[in-house]
């Protein structure tokens, strides 16, 4: 998605997320980059400060944080791992959005997220990712509350829902392009849309 937007002539800052030790990971696509740890508020604030310095204002903030682990009851459920999944997948996006808001007030005020099909409560998905799925449900709720709170200020929210596991194994350019369209259609002023990408 970063490449798609860059090729369309937009200024793109790619904020690479990771734990300590991943700071120096290099890109090969000439994108402006910054590293941050979504679990640490200071690191997230530093990323946002760098974004403000580099970009001036931000029109579109896209959150693609995704970390999954398999575990289920009867197979060694680990509450520590479940908490880590919540911290990364649900609180990480909140930390990032909270830190980026001061850079977005003068922009187009669009916040987008990539999510996974496993965030559905209405489709059976099996219990092997129960900790991950719970974190996604929490994140979905946080997006709804943010939309309620910030919609009146002109912010709009989009969630593009993909089968991220499949995309990790076989990334499809056309799906990335489709997600870009959903996330960056700034003419659409509906406060919140959740769009399943097929």
């Amino acid at each position: 998605m970063c490449r798609v937007w860059r090729d369309e002539g937009n200024a793109v800052l790619a904020a690479r997320a990771g734990g300590a030790g991943n700071e120096a990971a290099a890109g090969t696509d000439e994108l402006e980059r910054v590293w941050f740890n979504p679990l640490e508020e200071a690191s997230v604030r530093a990323m946002a400060a760098k974004a403000g310095e580099t970009m001036g204002r931000i029109d579109l903030a896209i959150i693609c944080l995704d970390n999954r682990k398999e575990f289920a009851l009867r197979e060694g459920f680990d509450s520590g791992e479940a908490m880590e999944l919540y911290d990364y997948n649900a609180l990480g996006p909140l930390r990032a959005i909270e830190a980026l808001l001061p850079c977005m007030g003068e922009g187009s005020k669009r916040i987008g997220l990539l999510s996974d099909v496993r965030d559905s409560l209405t489709e059976p998905m099996g219990a092997r990712h129960i900790g991950y799925d719970m974190a996604l449900a929490a994140r979905r709720m946080s997006v709804q509350i943010m939309a309620n709170a910030l919609g009146g200020e002109g912010y709009t929210f989009r969630a593009a829902v993909l089968d991220l596991e499949r995309e990790r194994e076989e990334p499809r350019e056309e799906l990335a392009a489709g997600a870009c369209r959903v996330l960056s259609d700034l003419a659409d002023r509906e406060v919140l849309r959740v769009v399943r990408m097929e």
């Binding site: 009867r74 919540y86 909270e98 808001l101 409560l121 219990a127 449900a137 709720m141 709804q144 309620n148």
Partner: protein
């Protein structure tokens, strides 16, 4: 005689459900979090044979495992589990502009969302041997994404949405093994969740417990379709 486990049985809805089940002839293992709260020991004086009090902090792996061992020393099976224990926070009105307290949000999640999983897993040996295999989860309308109109309460609402998701995934896993589930929104109760009893609610714990006990104990369409119902029987969307 059927046996139930009730978490957060010290006071409020948990205590009312414990009393109700005892009155209906159940044996109850009551998870006690507050050492100094007097109501459970007083109830035990009246039901010496059928009320077993175990210390239980559902936010702690160790406490939950010890409670399961203590329960195992008293019974070979548990028929029904009521996941009632939960917490709120005085920081619920914080928002993105004022700064969220992420440590507090993790504390709430650890208890409200992960606590149910801890208890379910630790007591599986006993519930597998039970005749009802029923898991009853006290959730909240605050976990309904579709109905959410709040502009804050991030930590609490997120924990309840996650609890609903966890219950759904457990339903998928355990229903083929004969387990049934009840997901319950108790309504706006006068609770102790903030530490002291709130008088702002519309409902007393006793009246909610009467409706909840019926929903939890009786067979129904919820055996084959996971839904969240409130004290009046109304279904809530996810």
């Amino acid at each position: 005689m059927h046996t139930a486990l009730v978490t957060g049985a010290d006071r409020g809805l948990g205590f009312a459900l414990t009393s109700r089940l005892l009155s209906d002839g159940w044996r109850v293992i009551a998870g006690r979090y507050l050492e100094d709260w007097p109501e459970l020991p007083e109830l035990a004086e009246r039901h010496r044979e059928r009320l077993v009090i175990v210390p239980l902090d559902i936010g702690s792996d160790e406490s939950v495992h010890i409670a399961a061992k203590l329960a195992s020393a008293q019974t070979n099976s548990v028929d029904l589990v009521i996941h009632n224990a939960a917490v709120s926070t005085p920081l619920k009105d914080l928002d993105l502009r004022g700064g969220l307290d992420y440590g507090d949000m993790k504390r709430i999640y650890n208890i409200n969302a992960l606590g149910m999983l801890r208890v379910t897993e630790a007591f599986l040996g006993l519930t597998d041997a039970g005749s009802m295999k029923r898991q009853c989860v006290v959730s909240s309308e605050a976990g309904s994404v579709e109905r959410c109109e709040r502009r804050a309460w991030y930590g609490y609402c997120m924990s309840k949405a996650a609890l609903n998701m966890g219950t759904m995934r457990l339903y998928e896993q355990l229903r083929p093994e004969g387990y049934t589930f009840r997901l319950f929104h108790p309504g706006w109760m006068k609770t102790y969740m903030s530490g002291v009893k709130s008088e702002e609610g519309e409902l007393e714990a006793d009246e909610v417990a009467e409706a909840a006990a019926r929903y939890f104990v009786e067979p129904g369409e919820a055996d084959d379709r996971l839904v969240m119902r409130d004290w009046s029987g109304k279904e809530w969307p996810w």
